[in-house]
Each structure stands twice: as structure tokens, then as C-alpha cells.
Amino acid sequence: MSEPQTIHFKFSGNGGEYFRIWIVNSILTILTLGIYSAWAKVRTNRYFYGNTVLDNATFEYHATPIMILKGRLIAVAALIIYVAISKVSPIAGLAFIPILGLLAPWVIWRSIQFNARMVSYRNIRFHFHGALKEVYKILVLIPLLPIIVGGILVGISLLIDKEGKFTVILSFMVVIAFYAVFPYIQQLMTSYYINNRQYGQGQFSAQLSAEKYYKIYLTLIGLTVLVSLIIGMLIAFILGVTGEFDKITAMMQSSEDPEEVPIALVGAILFVYIAFGILSIWGTAYIQTNIKNYVLNRTSLDNIQINSSIEVGKLFVIYFTNILLLMATFGLAYPWTIIRLKKYKLESTSVTGNINEYVNQQQQKQSALGEELGDAFDMDLDLGM
């Protein structure tokens, strides 16, 4: 028996190589009016999985373009039917929207299953066996609860409170409640996603608490408020010290046309715009880092532990420079930016345990059960979203 060891994921893809795949994918997709997109998706996924290395072995993506194409054709057909119906009768078209909403969890469920099954590592496939009704509970029932309960309360208060002041406050609270369930939904969905996943016969598991999700989001909100205040005070201070503040207020109050707009005002507006742009990128990096680290560090595959050590600062720098690159190249740098991002995220992830031994055990169990036959109706319904 070998000692448990920690092995880092490696990503061997590079921007130049992926750029060439990406640009050929793009032009062929355009020239075939989207049909090639199914082939493009397979090539892209094969490239990313095939360059994901763990313990000198790569992952593999198995879906065939036809499976992807079937799913996309169904989606396009549904869209055409919807447009045709709403042309004939706009009301019937509107009725289509809740039907679509009720269908969405099924589509999500199918595509989680499909995408799990289409990936293998050292010839052993991943699986997903989550129940469909769970998705409906998480994505339909729970989000609707605050709306339904809130709606009833607002209705009652409208009957009692003629002035309407209380009703406005109540409606406001309902809106907040609607957003406030989001971290809870995210936690439920992530748990569902991980705890129903298998590698061969091996079981993934993660004990996640909603409390941690709320802590992460509330910390971000707190920090955002704090930084906004600092930015505001900084501007007020600079304008005050330089005396520009008085000029601006004088301009605001006077009814006469100003000769020229104080350059300080333009500068202040530009500064606020850029500062909040950077703040929101940082916020995204903060959420991504904390949630990904939390989830992965609590995830295990039987006795194999997964570790993630993404840093907010590093992720922020990648996001920020990626945006600058994309703007400077009108999007042509996309392949380099996505490779940089994937590489960083992946190489911050590692596993601890006896990988080689574990994989060999899985193989014996799998042989005993026999190879799982692919579903004849295997198709990807993720619609590229």
C-alpha cells in the first residue's frame, strides 16, 4: 500500500493552439448557419478535457456531434413552434412561457446527466443519478414560495391598509426575500450536483451549509458598501481640498449657462465609473473564489479528498487583465483569456489520497457490473447556454 499523496491538476492547453481551433470552429459555424456548432462543441470539450491532466493521465470527452446536434435541433424546433404560435395567437404564445419554465428543470436534469456520463478518466466514466423531482423542488418550488406567500400577504394588506404605505414596505420586503433565497438555492443545487455524482462506482459527497453561502454574500455586500463610502468620501475630500467642490455647487445652483463644465466634475464621474467597474470585477472574483474553495474543500470521492486554493487577488488580476485584453482585441483574444482562467482554476485544485490504487479498485468493481450501455436517446440539451 502506498502512502496517500497530494497531486495537483495540470492544464496542458495553450492559447495559440486553442485560438486556431476556436477560429476554425467559429467560421465553420457561421458558414454552416450553426450546424457545425455541434462539431465545434465536441472539439472544444475534447480539447479542454484532453488537456486536463491528473497523475499523468488525461480526462476524455465522449459525446458525438450527432448527440449534440439532436438536442439543438429539438431546441430550434421548439423555438419555431413558439414563434409560430405567438404569431397566430399572442395569448397562446404567452401561455407557452410557464410551460417553458416547467420544462427547464427537466432540460437541466438531462444535461447534468449527459455531461457527467460523457466524461471519463482512465477509461472509467462519471455518472449522475439525481432524482428529477429534486430539481423541481430546488428550482421551481423554493423560488416561488416567497413570491406566493408574499403575494398573499400583500393582497391582505391592500385590503386592510388603505393608505398603501405599509403595502409598499411589504412589497419591498417580498422583493428582498425573493433575492435572499438565492444563496440557499445555490447551496441546494450544488449539493444535489455533487452528492449524486459517481466516478465508476465511487461516490462523490459534500456536506455544504447554506449558512456559509450567506456569510460569503453578506461579507461581499458589507465590503461593497464600505468601499463605496470610501470612494465617495475620497472624492468629496479631494474636491473639497482643491476648492473644486464650491465651483460645482455654484454651477448647479446658478440658472445661467456655465461657460464650461468644471473638469473636476467630469473627472469625478469617470473615476466613480471606473472604480465601480473594478469593484464589481473584484466582487465576482471574491464570490467565485470563496464558493469554489468552500465547495471543493468539502468534496470527497470516497477516501479521496479534493482541495482548492484559489486566491481572490490572483483571480481578480486574471479577470481584470482578461477584460482589457478582450477590449483591446475586439474579442479575438478570447481563447487566450479562457485558457488562462481555466489553467489557473484547475491548477489551484488538487486531490489527496491513493489515486492510482483507488482508480484500480474502481476498475475491478466496474468490470463486475459490466459496461453501462449508452442511452439510445443520449442527447445534450444545454442549448449552449
Binding site: 486556431r20 476554425v24 458558414l31 488525461t58 479575438l332
Partner: protein, 358 residues
């Protein structure tokens, strides 16, 4: 010929070092700690090449030989004219600089022209296909929101409102033929002189604008400009144009995160402002032509516009400078001197026409 790699037994993750030897279409696989395997290369199925990811060769007994030596595999397939070599042309497209150059040029050209010309064209066609009754429904919500939360009731004397409304109905509406149900509303928006039109034909004018006008002709020029927006379906076109871009970007970027959304917001903003400038010019042209029809000198548009311009503080900065390409591209309205210039040109035409008639 010899290729090094790993061998996996059928449905197994047990990995063995192996070497594949090929001679005259036959292969011999020498496996460490295992028996030798032999067969015909023609019976082996080989995965397509993507970049430099490991290549998989599935042998007759469903066991797998995996190698990183992609070039040797390609040579082998080519030399033996193997069936799995046929899809190799995609990889060739992805590696030759000639095809990459063509792909880049074509993609940029097609994307640019469809966004720049195709999209406005399609939006226009679609906007005109939407029945007038439906634009009423589309605007209903917008009007309610504007009315409740953004605009304040007018403080203009009722008689003045009635007079303008009457003139609007009896005179201005007579020169346009479409079935829109035009309605004129007076409201306040802070202290801003402003006017805007909804796709349904609801036109909202602020008190400040009415106060600023020195005569009825100046008000008419603004109202005709707004009618021009309605007739040309600018509101609808903008909604359609906007949704097109959003959908296209969502599909292109896949699952866009907040960051990616932010970074696509800028090009979208640039496109939208470029688009709305074209709309403003079109509404101006509509106003000029119909002013002439009604016997109003288009110069009143320039008068009104110059007054608004001197009020718009930040625009004042630009108008002192030469209108350069850069500021033109960023702003939602055409460069102001150009709009005034157009009004003057039409005014000249108006006098020219009149002198011929007299």
C-alpha cells in the same frame, strides 16, 4: 515504425506501458508485464486529432492503446490510407497559417457586416411587421412606470395644454397617414426640457420645453421630430436590436459570468449609441420634410435646438471644439452642428420652393 504509449485492457483503468510496432499494415503491440497483441491496422479505430491531446486507438478486442505521439499516428493513417484519416482535414485547417488567416478575415468581415448592416436591417423589417395594436401593449407598461415614478404632473395652464393639443390634432396629425393613436401628454422631468415618444404613439413633452419655445412653430418642430420616431418605429427597432445583440452574445460567449457580461456591455453600448444616432437623424429628416409640407420654416428646428444646446451643460464642452470622430462615435445623438446645418439646408429649400410657387 514505432509509437510509444499506454495500453488499457478493455473497460479497465489499469495502465501498462506499451510500444506499437507497425510493418506493412500489421501491428504488434509490445506491452510491459503482458502478452503481445497483433492485428491489422485497418481494423483499429483511431480518434480524431484535436490539438495535442492523447490519441486513442481502439483495437479489435476493445482494449485501448493511447499515445501522445500525434504526428506518428497521423503519418501512419496517411500512409495506410486508413478510414479514420479522412476527418484529418479539420486539424489541417486548424494548423495551416493560410487557413487561419482566411478564417480570421472571414469571421471579422461577416460578424462586422451582420452587426453593422444586417442587424439594423432585420430590426427594421421586424419592427414594421409588428401590428400597431401590439405596440400599444408593449408601451403600456413603460408609460405607467414613467408616469408613476419618473414624471411629475404638468403645471402648465389647462388652456395652454388644450391649445397645443388641439393644434397637434388638427394640424400636425393631418400630414401623416398611419393608423397610430397619437396622444400628447404634458409632464415634468425635473427642470429638463425634453420630449420623447413611445412606440404606441404616446408623446410626452415637458413643461420646461414648452416654456423655452418662443412660438408654436418651435414646438411643432419638436412634436414632428417625435412623430418621426413613431412613424419610423424607432422605439420598437431599438428593443428588437437590443434583444438580438443580447441573444447573440449569450450564445457566443456561452454561460457568460457577470464579468463577461460587463465586458460585453461596452461594445453593446457603442453599438446602441451608433444605432440611436441614425434614428435621431431619421426623425430629424421626417420633421424637416413635414414642416415644409405644413408651411413651417425648418429653421425653427435649429432655433429650438440651439436653445436646448446652450442648456445642455456637458454638450457645451464639445460644441466649442471641433466635432471629432471619437466624440461622434460615443454620443447617442448626431453631432449638434450637423443637425443644425441640416435644418438650415431644409430651410433654404423651403424658401426656394416658396419662391417658385409665388
Amino acid at each position: 515504425m514505432q509509437i510509444t504509449g499506454y495500453w488499457y485492457p478493455a473497460n479497465s483503468s489499469a495502465r501498462h506501458d506499451a510500444k506499437l510496432h507497425i510493418k506493412d499494415g500489421h501491428y504488434t503491440l509490445k506491452i510491459v508485464d503482458n502478452d503481445e497483441l497483433q492485428g491489422m491496422v485497418a481494423n483499429v479505430s483511431v480518434s480524431d486529432r484535436v490539438g495535442n491531446i492523447p490519441r486513442k486507438m481502439t483495437l479489435e478486442n476493445h482494449s485501448i492503446f493511447e499515445t501522445l505521439d500525434n504526428n506518428s499516428v497521423d503519418n501512419l493513417l496517411h500512409k495506410l490510407r486508413h478510414k479514420d484519416g479522412s476527418s484529418h482535414f479539420i486539424h489541417i485547417l486548424e494548423t495551416r497559417w493560410q487557413s487561419i488567416t482566411i478564417a480570421i478575415t472571414l469571421t471579422i468581415t461577416i460578424v462586422f457586416s451582420s452587426v453593422y448592416w444586417g442587424l439594423p436591417w432585420a430590426s427594421e423589417k421586424l419592427a414594421y411587421a409588428i401590428p400597431v395594436g401590439m405596440s400599444e401593449q408593449i408601451s403600456a407598461g413603460t408609460f405607467d412606470v414613467l408616469n408613476k415614478y419618473i414624471l411629475d404632473p404638468s403645471e402648465l395652464p389647462e388652456a395652454r395644454q388644450q391649445a397645443i393639443r388641439k393644434h397637434f390634432k388638427k394640424t400636425l396629425l393631418t400630414v401623416q397617414s398611419e393608423k397610430f393613436n397619437y396622444r400628447l401628454y404634458f409632464r415634468q422631468l425635473g427642470d429638463m426640457p425634453n420630449a420623447f415618444a413611445l412606440p404606441s404613439g404616446q408623446i410626452i413633452v415637458t413643461d420646461k420645453l414648452i416654456e423655452m419655445a418662443d412660438n408654436q412653430q418651435e414646438i411643432d418642430s419638436v412634436l414632428l421630430h417625435e412623430i418621426g420616431h413613431v412613424v419610423h418605429r424607432h422605439g420598437l427597432q431599438q428593443i428588437i436590436h437590443n434583444s438580438f445583440i443580447t441573444i447573440a452574445l449569450t450564445i457566443m460567449t456561452g454561460d457568460a459570468t457577470a464579468v463577461e457580461e460587463m465586458m460585453i456591455a461596452l461594445p453593446v453600448f457603442l453599438l446602441e449609441s451608433q444605432y440611436s444616432r441614425a434614428s435621431e437623424s431619421e426623425a430629424d429628416e421626417y420633421a424637416f420634410k413635414h414642416m415644409i409640407k405644413l408651411g413651417i420654416d425648418p429653421i425653427y428646428f435649429a432655433h429650438m435646438f440651439e436653445k436646448m444646446l446652450s442648456l445642455e451643460k456637458d454638450e457645451n464642452l464639445n460644441s466649442n471644439e471641433q466635432p471629432d470622430e471619437y466624440s461622434e462615435f460615443l454620443s447617442t445623438h448626431p453631432a449638434s452642428p450637423r443637425r443644425i446645418q441640416r435644418a438650415k439646408e431644409y430651410s433654404a429649400k423651403y424658401f426656394h420652393n416658396n419662391s417658385i410657387q409665388n
